[in-house]
Structure formats: C-alpha cells, structure tokens
Symmetry: D2
Subunit: 323 residues, 4 copies
C-alpha cells in the first residue's frame, strides 16, 4: 500500500471527541510519514476547496476541546452527482489518496456515494452522540452526551421536591433511544420513552399507574425527541391525569457540546490510529468501529443500512430500579 | 435577649446553598446553646406542623448538596390571616422564639405579615437565584446559577459553528436581568435582552445591525424569561431577518440545581451565622444581607419594596466586548 | 431457590458507584419480595453486628453520590477463622441467606474464606477504581476515577507552558496500570509508566530521548503509584537530565471520590440487579461481571487469582499520539 | 490623551481568567481604534521581541480557557536595569505607548521599575490565584482556584469515612491564607492553618482538643503551603497524637488551571475594559482593581507594599461551623 496523502473531515452534527479523533488521524498518519489535509466544513469544504495541511502542532492542545476544529456542515450540493464530481476534482488536485470521514449515517452515505462514482478510498469513523451506528458498540461523543444529560437531570432532581410533580426531560435521539434509556438508568429516573418502543400509550399509562401507587415525591421521565417529544406527553398528562403537576425540560443543543469524557477521547484516539492502520493494510470503503473492546472493520454500506437494537436487559433494569 | 428556640425554613423557589445556610443557622444556634426546629416544606409545614428538631449531625455532609433538605413549597393558605394564625399556633406550641426564613421576595412578605399580626421575631436570609433582593449585593444561589448557565452556554457555543446562526438562550429572572446580563459577559455572548430594558425592539435591531457587519460565525443572545422570552425573539428574527438560521435553548429548571459554588457556600455560611448574631443582639424583623463584603441588616419591609438596579457599567462592558 | 434475606456490604477502598450498586441490589431484592440487611463498615460491621434493614426509600437519592452510604473498612479480625466465625453468628442470627460483597480482590478473598468455612452463599460485585479484577471488563468506580484524573491533568496542562518542563503525575494503581495508561491517552500525555512494564529504566530514557528531539513546550508523564512513584522518576531526571525543569503532582485520595459517571452508575445498576438474578438461579460463590457488554458469572476463586493484562494496542496508541 | 498602541503581557504564575482579561484589553482597545501588541512569555518576550499584533479574532473563543494564550514566565534578566533597557528598546521600536501587565506582586514590581527608569506608562491588572494584592477585593483567578480546591475536598470527603482519620490538605498561598481559610469554610472542613496566624502550634492543639471530644468520623484541615505545609502537621500528629490515622493530600499545580468561573471571567472583562478607560483618562502607573463592586485605581507602588488582611469574621465563622 502506498497511500501518501490523506484528507480528513467532520460532517453532520458535531460530537465531543471529534477533535481527539482528528488529532489521532493526523498524528498517526504523520507517524507513517504521510501528509494530512484538513478539510473544513465537511463536504462543503471539499467542494469549495477550503482545505489546509495539518501538522503535529496544529492538533496540539485540542484533545480536550468540544466541537470540531475542522467545523462541520450539511451539504446539499454534495448530495448531487455534480457536487461530488466537483469534490473529486479537489481530491485529485491535492493528490489525496484516501478520505477519512468522521460522522454519522448521512455522512457515511455521502462517502459511499463518492467512492462508488470516483476512484477514491473512504474510511468512516463513527462520530455521533446518538450511538445509532451499526457495527460499533459505541460512537464518538455518545459517552459525553450521556454524562451531560445525567448531570442536567441530577440538577433537575435537586429542585424536584414537591409531591405529585412529573418532569418530562427531552433528550436527543430521534431514531434511537440509547441516550434516553441509559440516562434514565444513570440518573435514577422513573421511566424512559424511546422511539424503539411502539407501545408508548401503554408506557405512559403503566408508568402513571405505578406512580400513583408510590410514595415518591417526584418523578422524572426521559423522552427521546420525536413526534412532539416531552411536550406531547406533558400535554397528555395534563389532560388525562390533571391531579399531577407537570413540568417539561428540553435539553437541546447543549447535549452536543462540552469537554469529551475520558472514554470518548480514548475511543476517538484508538479509532483514529486504527483508520491509518486500515489504510496501511489496503482496506477500502469501511467503517472502523469497536466491538467487545477490539477494533473491527465493517463495510460502510452495512453500517448505514443495519439497525442497532437496544438491549432488552436495560429496559428490565430500569423497570426494577424505579420501584 | 434570651432566645432559646429558633425555627428555620426554606420557602419559594429553591436555590443552591440553602443547605449550607440551614447548616450554618443550625450549628451557630447550637453553638449558643439554643435549640433548632427544622420546618419542612416552608410555610406549609409551619401550618401543618411538619417540624423536627435539627442537631449538629443532622446537617452534616449537606454543605455541598443542591436543593434543600427542608424542602420548599409555595403556600396559598399562608397568604390568608387564618393560615398565619394556624402557623402561629404551632410556633407557640413548640416554644419557637424566632423564625429564620431563607427565601426571596414572596417568602419575606409572608414573614412580615406573620410578624405584624403575631408576637414572633422573624429574620430573613436572601436565598434566590435571581439576585433581585434589595439590601444585599448577592443572594444565596445566584453565583451557582450564573456558573451553571455559563457552563451550558460554553457547551452550546461548541456546537455553534455554522455561519449566520443566532442562538437565543433563555435564562431565569422574570423581573431581574442579573443572570442574563452577567452570564452574557461571562460566556462571551453577543447580547443580553433583560427586563430592566424597555427598549428591546431597538436592542434586537441594533444587535442584528452589528451582527450583519461582523465576520462572526455565530451569535449567542441571552434572554431573561418574560413575555415569551427566547421564543419571541426567535420568531421575530425568522420573520424580519429570514437570512439567519435561528435556534432556541430554554435552560429551565436545571438552573436551580447543582452543587453550590464556593462563593454561595461561604455567603450562606456567613449569613447563617450572622442571623444568630442578630438574634443575640435583639434584632427583629430584618433581612441579613451582605454589602461591600460586610454583614448588614435591612428592615425586611425595605428589602421587599425597593428595586435593585443593574449596574450600567456591565451593559457597557458587554457592548464593547461583543465586537 | 428460596432466598428470603440477603445482606449487602462494601469493603476495601471505596469507589464511586458503590451507592448506585447498593441501591440496585436493594431494590432488585425488594422487587422479588426479599428482605435486605445493610451491613455497615464492611466485615467489621458483620462481626460487630452493625446491621440495619434497607428499604426502597433508604436508598433514594443516593445514585449520584460518591463514597458508600454503608461505609467501608479493612478488618484484621475477619482475616482470622475466629473473626469469620463471629461474623457467621450474626449471619445466622439475622437469617441472612446470602451475602453480597461489593469490593475488590481482598474483599473477595474474605468472602471466599467465609463461604468455605460456613454454610453461606456469597456473591461478589467488582467495586474498585483500579480495574484490576479478572473476569470483568470494567469495575465499578474505574470510569469515574479515570475521568477525575483526566480533568486534573487538563488543569495541570493549562499551567504547563514553559519550555523543557516535565510533569510527573502520580495516579493510583499499585499493581495495575489501567488508570495510568488510559488517562495518559485521554489526557494527551507524553508517556505512562506502569507496573506491568518491567523495563521502566529504558522507558524513561526512551521518553527523554524522544522529548529532546521534540519542539514541545511541556511534557506530562503519568506514573502508577509504586516504589516511590512519580517522586522516584523526578529524582532520576534531576540527576541524569539536569537541563529539565521537573515538577511532581500526586493526585492522591481525591481519585476515590466524586459523583459517579453515567458509565459507573449504569454498570453498578446492572451488576446489582444481576446479583439478585444470580441468587434466583441458585448461583453460589461467584463474582458477577461484565464481558463484551453482557453479564457473566465467574467463580470467585478465579476472579482473585487470575491477572488481567493491559491491551498492547493501548501502549501503541500512546506511543504514536505523543509524537 | 492619544495613546495609539498598547502592549499587553501576562507575567508570574498563571491564573484562570487571564485569557478573558487579554480578550477584554484587546477588544476594548480596538473598540477605541487603537492597536494591540501581544507580548509572549511575559518580560522575557518583551526583551527578546517575541511580540505579535492581536486582533478581535485572535482572542475569539478564549474567554473560557484556562492558562494564558500569551504564555507566562519569570524573567531574571528583567530584574536588571540592563534587561529593562533592552525591553524598552523593543517598546520604542514597536511604538508602544502603554504597557498593560496582568500578574501579581512581582510582576507589578517589574512594571514599576521599568516605568521609573523609562518613559512608558504602565497599568497593572491583578491576576493571581492567591488574592494577596492590596487595593482590590478580588484578583483574577482566585475564585476559580477556590472552587477547584473545594471540588477536590468534596471528593476527598467522600472517601473520608473511617473513624479518627485526619486529612491535611495543602493548598497554595505561601504568604496569604485566603485560599485555605475560605476553602475550609466552603468545604465544611474542621480547621484552616494559615500564614497570617503566628500561633499555629496552639491551633493544632486546639483543633485536636476539639476533635477528640467530637463524634465526627473524619476531620479535614486545610493548610497553606509554607514551612513544610501539610506534611509538617501530619508528622506532628503522628508523633504527638498517635491514636489518629493521618493522611496528606497536596493539591499542587492543578489549582492554577481549569476553565475560569463566571466570577473570574466577569472580573477579568471589567478590569480589562477599565484599563483602557484609565489610559483614555491619562492615568499612569496604577493598578486597576475592584472595591465594593466598583472599579478603583491604586498607585502601583501602593498595591505592592501594603498587606491585605484576612477578615476576622471568617475565622470566627469557621470555628462556629466546625462544631
């Protein structure tokens, strides 16, 4: 294998740990004697040519920073063959042999489209707070977002002392309930309402049923954003169970930010180094993930199409512990 | 003065540092050889008799905890003379010589009404995150809430990388802009919209005017909750300046919780000790506050009626630094 | 199986998440209709009879707290057959059918001795910040301690701006380098010196050799406590490489405390629930651990005797990223 | 007044909030139409000419960062007239009309020496975690260091559950006990041993005397670094009171780092803006400080020579609350 120049970009929603990953990709490539081009603002910058060389120093002191120093964006133009052709022009012009894309589902779909139309190797690295990528136990940013949510719910619980008060706390994860389910367990919440569950009417009724019998001072329910989210359930409770005092808290964008946790920095570092290893081995068009604490390669097409289920054990744990 | 038994309660919205204050009141009274009765759930517990003696040990290991171990509530019944008469019955029955009330405006108004109708000494201690009490430079909980907001805005800024995006972040302070104005300075935000300012239409227009000329990637505006708050301004921008991408984040109840900062713990400790000193001196119906880093006594009636203005210097500082 | 009454204790060094685990054990047992006896101060309390029944409410609002509400101690008396016989007297007297021990190596050895001499079922749950227990990928408290260390090193790095300055930061882990190795990666440190490595003289020389060639402003080396720890290496540098300005920071006991991370709370909750499941299944004298994100049972004798190696990949990752 | 170009530097020990102050100085000067030169590594850079122009953008996204982007150093050469003459050469060459020095005592002494020998206006801004500067209620970095210490002691307390164990926690402040005294109150510690007190032998004996009578499980004593610090007292207790189990924790360099608190960011912003106001007014050779929440000017000579006493009230508060 004789890769000489790689490009790296972050794409889609930003996630804590992306900088740690850019740093690892950059240094591992330089360690091999390769050249690294940093592409700014995701596929937008690949099309417009907003690209600068990265050095060991240019990624110094970034491992602890949230967001992404390469910025990120969603690019409509890149969704068209014409846009991707323009991007490929820049790739050729700069002599980029392989493209490393840090992002989620949509970003990988873009990478795959590019690789199928043009002669370029792509490697995907899972960076999204939602943890909804098949082929990896954990995505970069998920652990940090989980901790951010739990810290917020800890604070909300401090103030939740009045009787019969129900808080619905809305968290990210439109299509995946990992954040809601796990933060509910970690925060000692009473229930989680997640998109994987299609029986939410019963869930609320069951939860209320359990709640009424309890001597608890307050209840906290984590809700994944979707179809009205927390507000929807608050409205239902106000109508159907007017005896309760209901409050809503929508955590919003702060879930994306913050200094990454140790877990996310280590994961990002390992995946970044592994992406260069994969290129050395001649791998093409894969996602590098982590399974059972070991580096794995997954065809990028498979990482996009497959669903990652929530462990039933976790649902059981929450039910038992919220008595 | 020969006070022997005091009662202590927290009332109104909870604030971080209330536990540190309860601890200080309790220990300083016990240090004098007095007895301390903890009244649960504010004036509600005073009426219903939900009262237990506090010891040195019962306040151990509470200085660092958010919320209030005595719980808090808003009591409609206490707003009536009949309710206050019931409360006084319990005060007499338990031999309480003085009542220490940790809370804000509304709580002090209740204390004053009680003291004007019955033979009981009341001492108010300023506990509210809003910092809107006359006669004290700082209220218990304000510094913690300010830091909580700033940490949240730091996280939001991490994700605020796209061009022309304006975030409106809504914080507490319906009648006072201390939290919004100071967190805007501390978070490096571009503007603050506060209730003290009656020219908010111009404020938004001015801010946008400045914003358009700038090469900034993103703007963050702190907004006090009031008249629709952040959502109102977001709607206006969407209509009047459709070229911007607008996001809203309502921080909500998490602002009330969390481990108190060093500042709030020290303030709460000093005020708690000073309340017992005031009783030793025979003071009646005052609020104990802090001015220029010294303990002061303010007639409780005055603390309620007077407004506390925002320093113009701070408005100027924000304007200059957001260039 | 007809377990009716269980005892639970924490033993050895405390670890964040122990409370979350006590809570889970308690609630999962009560969920089954069982009775739970909380044993205070580890085996000491089992011998002295410092034991109280735990209820659903008595573990409320503890999931987020560091330390252990059951306290912990190291018991010399329990190391003798006589001590264990006394402990068994209390077990019989209280009708305890099974004992759940949350702790590390030494605590498990005690549990095994007890079970081999008397008719009592023991279940071990891995609670130690060192992560050095065979049969589980992760121990309760390890993730929190790792994050605490990384936050400290982030702060130290803020001040480490002068040229040629080397910081040796000593962390816990007398026999296991998990904390040092992983925190070095996560904190972006230049090297880790760990007990698993028997070539430390070369390590320091190699590190210095690399350091001299680099244009770095400062270097941070994580050192596991052992044989003089950080101080030993600082002395060596002062003697052998006097051109460097060396500083030492020993993180010490603060590594054991703090609010547990989401990961530790979830792990503790899952293991606690699983320990009751194991008893329902009639398991005896096992440790309940987590492997590849699934609950596993390991003979308690095996968990004590086997070593858990450090992944070589992590050593490689650190070497590459510290260029 | 027609200042056109200012220089800004940080000097001495770094302190959180220095970046917020550099940002404020830079933007307030640019707001006036002035030019700002950033001098790197304190007086070292002034002598060697390590100086670059600062723009509005170059201080973007720095308000929340610990350390100092201008770096800091202690310069032996600047302590000589020859060194200061070299520095003045650079000042003239770059057309710098005024020098803003962010630092502590030693840094201000250097500034004064420069101003007394050469025709240059200097303005000092108080930046030190020790809070030991006369003429200002608070120094930039003090509030953050205080909170860092309190967070550490909170963690240490989590693990301090065994009987008769005394922790001596050593904090910074060789000549001033502000950090030790205030963190002791805020952390709920049992005592503080500070340099302002010359009766430390009695202090320890008194504390032990109180401790023996108490039913406390553990005691925490904050000790200012000086004359052996915490280790000294631990040794004394081991010899004189062998019945106690003693532990030592030296917090060290991590006290200097970390994201600044809201208080320090606001203070730094206000002082930075005020330094430009002072130059506009034609002020020379002053320190800009804060007294009673208002900006004040103090002759720089006076800020160096005068001592700032510790409030006796605080010593009393700690004594009462540690019962």
């Amino acid at each position: 294998m004789n890769t000489k120049t790689i490009g790296v970009l972050t794409s889609g929603g930003d996630a804590p740990g992306m900088n740690a990953c850019i740093r690892a990709v950059t240094r591992a490539a330089i360690y091999e004697g390769w050249k690294v081009m940093g592409i700014y603002r995701g596929y937008e910058g690949l099309i417009s040519g907003d690209i600068k060389e990265l050095t060991t120093e240019s990624v110094s002191n970034t491992i602890q920073r949230g967001g992404t120093v390469l910025k990120t964006a969603r690019s409509d133009e890149f969704r068209t063959p014409e846009g991707r052709a323009k991007a490929y022009e820049n790739i050729k012009k700069l002599g980029i042999d392989a493209l490393i894309v840090i992002g989620g589902n949509g970003s990988f779909a873009g990478a795959q489209a590019l690789a199928s139309e043009h002669d370029i190797t792509v490697i995907g690295l899972p960076g999204t707070i939602d943890n909804d990528l098949y082929g990896t136990d954990s995505t970069i940013g998920y652990d940090t977002a989980l901790n951010t949510i739990v810290e917020c719910v800890d604070k909300i619980r401090d103030t939740a002392t009045s009787h019969n008060r129900i808080f619905f706390v809305e968290v990210m994860g439109r299509d995946a309930g990992f954040l809601a389910q796990n933060s509910a367990i970690a925060a000692g919440a009473e229930a989680a309402i997640i998109p994987e569950d299609n029986t939410d009417i019963d869930q609320l009724a069951t939860f209320i049923g359990r709640g009424i019998r309890k001597s608890k001072n307050s209840s906290i329910v984590l809700v994944s954003e979707k179809d009205g989210g927390a507000m929807h359930y608050a409205e239902r409770v106000r109508k159907e169970y007017p005896q309760y005092d209901v409050r809503v808290s929508i955590l919003g964008h702060l879930q994306r930010g913050g200094t990454p946790t140790a877990h996310d920095r280590i994961l990002a570092s390992r995946l970044g180094v592994a992406s260069i290893d994969a290129l050395k081995e001649g791998q093409r068009n894969i996602m590098v993930g982590i399974k059972n604490d070991e580096i794995v390669y997954v065809p990028i097409s498979r990482s996009i199409k497959m669903d990652k289920p929530i462990d039933k054990e976790l649902i059981n744990v929450l039910t038992i512990l919220s008595i």
